[in-house]
Amino acid sequence: MSDRGMADEEAEGMTDEEADPSAVVDALLAGDERTLARVISRIENRAEGVRPVLARLSRHAGEAAVIGITGAPGAGKSTLVDGLVDAYRDRDLTVGVLAIDPSSPYSGGAVLGDRIRMHRDGDAGVFVRSMSARGRLGGLSRAAAEAVTVLDAAGFDVVLIETVGAGQNEVDVVRAADTVAVLVQPESGDDVQLLKAGVLEIADVFVVNKADLEGAGRTVARLEEMRRVRKRAGSSSGIDSGDRHDDAWTPPIVETVATTGTGVADLIDALDSHREHLLATDDLATTTRSRHAATIRALLRADLEALLETTLERQGGIDDLVRRVEAGETDPYAAVESVVAPIEDCLDDR
């Protein structure tokens, strides 16, 4: 909240559309919390005019350690995120948290769980934001990735993404992270499901939380076994030999008791090691590249779809085409050809 001026200006009825992208970016880079919060809202709302802001901010991103925390409901993710925030603050690192709830009840509404505690009143080094799916799971991963970019640009040293690990959509959300920690609680049945859903593959670090409960040792043993199987499968499937193998990352298994903070320091060590591994092996550059590619494709798809709609409208709209098909004047194939022809002409001119 370093820049009150900006906040007041907005409160006085300046609309988001009118907000000058450079002014928004400047306020955000200067640490204005309301501006940051507003930009994330605009991402969620898919507001017009947020793109130039994101375009500028994306140039300021790339420094944060982005960490995904996933696992079954009740595994202790929020409690652990709480503990991680504290531990990172003790290390003088600032933390942005994105708590994502992908469940989308029919009403469209959502209860986004308890906000994690902010232990230090007025600590500007922590920013926590909750996000729901808003009935469009596909868009959630993009919104999450953009929110991460914004937190990164805002200068947070660490960005934590908390999300329920249950299926493909959650896996997509967590792809915005460089390092993914998968939480498993001592044999409860949950872990079986979780591993089935393919969450195992995305784990860079395994966390057996609730290590104070019975059965933690068994769960660790099971994970070790799975890790062994995976490693063997990985080494026999590839033709490649030694050197790539030496580089391969073996996800460590860390035991934590999130409620007391036991093991949190070990977890941070494991997360740090993974980041060092990423930096040392070019893996970070690879994931960053594929993330850029995904962003470019997503933006392209959105823009082309909009162009298509415009073209379609100019030619009378879908209803008109349907009517003509119905009347036997044309068929769907010819109709599409006629819609796309002007676009193709444009391309040929280039």
């Binding site: 007041d8 988001d16 309301r34 959502a110 209860v111 906000r115 926590v128």
Partner: protein, 138 residues
């Protein structure tokens, strides 16, 4: 007043003070959810400063402060003062739920609380109030 697109109304349901009763908070959170609102719940025992920061970071349209007894004297004014200082008051509809004596209710409204809902208020009523009074935004 809520003229914007399909953007859901975002709410923070906050518990300030020492009491550990959050049944009322949960009831209203569920009612808001069923009305299609997005609800963030603060958890128990939050300080006014924590509530203000949460309201700003979550960029909520509505801040519902749930109190059991007594807490409204100082805690609610502190929250409102914090919102004002941060320049967020004008954008935030502040509601109070709980038992508040009539003379205190008047004082809270003078401070900027939009409405006080006593125990037993039908949730429909609260939902309708929010829909009608939520601040316009882009």
């Amino acid at each position: 007043m809520h003229t914007t697109t399909d953007r859901p109304i975002r709410c923070l349901i906050a518990k300030v003070g020492l009491d550990g009763h959050d049944r009322g908070a949960h009831v209203i959170a569920r009612a808001f959810r069923d009305a299609g609102f997005e609800v963030v719940y603060s958890g128990l025992h939050r300080s006014p400063e924590e509530i203000v920061r949460a309201a700003i970071q979550e960029d909520v349209d509505v801040l519902g402060i749930s109190i059991l007894s007594g807490a409204h004297d100082t805690l609610v004014p502190d929250v409102i003062e914090g919102l004002r200082e941060a320049g967020a008051f004008a954008d935030t509809l502040v509601l109070v739920g709980g038992i508040v004596p009539p003379e205190d209710e008047r004082r809270l409204k003078d401070l900027g609380v939009a409405e006080v809902f006593g125990p037993g208020t039908p949730t429909d009523e609260t939902v309708a109030f929010v829909r009608e009074h939520v601040r316009e935004r882009v």
